[in-house]
């Protein structure tokens, strides 16, 4: 059974370690915040200038002055801090953020990522994605394994304009966990009930499979 987006987020949450500062992108990555394991203390960064992002406010307590990078109303936590946009990207560029999770349209076997532009269609802009992928030490991509047309989003080479090169370390999709190694995509885990053959058939690049591949655990 392929995972739904909540289960993808739940699997990514297992990558969190105590003391991590984490930037979560818009979409599936945002959901990771709902599955932070008990006993693990992580601090969420929002690149519009907040460290220590809290949950959504309750009705009546929302403020136009307090939003996240997705422009949603949020709250602060005890010991949150607020700063300007240059400092926000300063902590990203200087490697203080331990993990970045973001979505993608395509990822190549070299870790290139494309997620900001489809030529010929309306271009919304890269926002902070190019800064994040150029600097983060550890980048996990959360995405569906194939696009709505059924084509693989894991490719030998990206066809869309790139957001960054040689940066993605791991991909968690609805059917697999894939690591990006110097030799290309390496299959680490499969979704419960999904065969290695199915994952290979949906991956448009070489997929390294060593030994028996365990099912994902949650």
């Amino acid at each position: 059974m392929a995972l739904n987006k909540f289960q993808i987020a739940q699997r990514i949450a297992k990558e969190l370690q105590d003391g991590f500062y984490v930037n979560l992108g818009i979409g599936i990555p945002t959901l990771v915040a709902n599955y932070i394991p008990l006993g693990i203390d992580v601090v969420l960064q929002s690149e519009n200038g907040l460290l220590g992002m809290g949950p959504f406010p309750i009705e009546g307590e929302e403020s136009a002055d307090l939003i996240n990078a997705g422009k949603q109303t949020i709250t602060t936590l005890p010991a949150s801090s607020i700063f300007d946009s240059a400092m926000s990207f300063g902590m990203i560029r200087s490697g203080k953020i331990n993990l970045t999770v973001l979505g993608a349209m395509e990822v190549s076997e070299h870790g290139d990522i494309a997620n900001w532009k489809i030529p010929g269609k309306m271009v919304k802009g890269m926002g902070g994605a190019m800064d994040l992928v150029a600097s983060a030490k550890n980048i996990i991509v959360a995405m569906m394994h194939t696009n709505p047309a059924g084509e693989s989003k894991l490719l030998k080479k990206c066809s869309l304009p790139l957001t960054g090169t040689n940066c993605v370390k791991k991909i968690v999709t609805d059917i697999a966990v894939v690591e990006i190694t110097a030799s290309g995509f390496k299959l680490l885990e499969r979704a419960p009930g999904v065969s290695v053959e199915e994952i290979m058939s949906k991956t448009a690049a070489n997929l390294i499979v060593e030994g028996s591949i365990p099912e994902m655990k949650f």
């Binding site: 403020s63 422009k71 560029r93 957001t163």
Partner: protein, 231 residues
């Protein structure tokens, strides 16, 4: 020294057609609402606007787009605006999209008196086309120039007559960076206080960067995406 202006109309009165403006804010959070309204009323045209976003159809910079006052938009993300899209696709509007951290740091460079910065953002992408690439310690960086803007227009929570500013929550975003970067910086504030009322230890923008200040009125402070939890 008199930095105090009566209102937004007074503060923007000498802005001319074709000038380069920086406008603070992230999405609709911390945008200079009063000055945008005054610029729409004043009907200046052919402006170049540097701002992280371009507002929405009927609020923020979107109001200036509706009046076709913007010739060129320099931003990192412009996704929430149908009129923007129409003008872009019809060729009426020129757009330069740049990474958000690059945008912020190019403002900072101006305010810090540095002509350029080196950033890894955009290396190996179309953002790098035509730019100098320099390798430091084995990693490639793009050289990006400091901005040169005629006016920076920012919104703060509190300010005094010296132009010292304090921002509230994430409405800070680009405001202090742009405040440092204008040849002339205009600050609109929700609360204008007497000199001495702001604690010097908690000033975000020192008054030296601010040339004009006024108390804004009737803030709508629209929320783009109200999200709430049940309990």
């Amino acid at each position: 020294m008199n930095k105090l202006y009566k209102n937004a109309d007074d503060a923007v009165k000498d802005i001319q057609d074709g000038q380069i403006l920086m406008l603070g804010g992230f999405g609709l959070c911390g945008i200079p609402e009063n000055c945008i309204t005054a610029l729409v009323k004043k009907a200046v045209k052919n402006l170049t606007c540097i701002s992280n976003n371009a507002g929405v159809d009927d609020f923020g910079i979107g109001l200036m787009l509706q009046q076709k006052q913007v010739k060129k938009m320099i931003a990192s993300y412009v996704g929430e605006n149908a009129e923007f899209e129409r003008q872009l696709l019809s060729g009426e509007l020129e757009v330069e999209l740049i990474p958000q951290g690059t945008l912020a740091t190019r403002c900072m460079a101006t305010g810090y008196g540095m002509p350029a910065i080196f950033t890894p953002a955009g290396v190996g992408t179309e953002v790098a086309v035509g730019k100098e690439v320099r390798n430091f310690n084995g990693k490639d960086y793009l050289m990006e120039y400091a901005f040169d803007a005629d006016y920076a227009i920012v919104k703060a929570w509190k300010g005094d007559k010296q132009g010292n500013l304090i921002y509230k929550d994430t409405a800070r975003n680009f405001n202090p960076l742009m405040a440092m970067a204008g040849k002339i910086t205009i600050a609109e504030v929700e609360e204008l206080v007497e000199d001495g009322e702001l604690d010097p230890n908690f000033i975000h923008t020192p008054g030296v960067y601010v040339h004009r200040i006024f108390k804004g009125e009737n803030y709508e402070k629209r929320i783009e995406q109200k999200t709430i939890r049940k309990s």
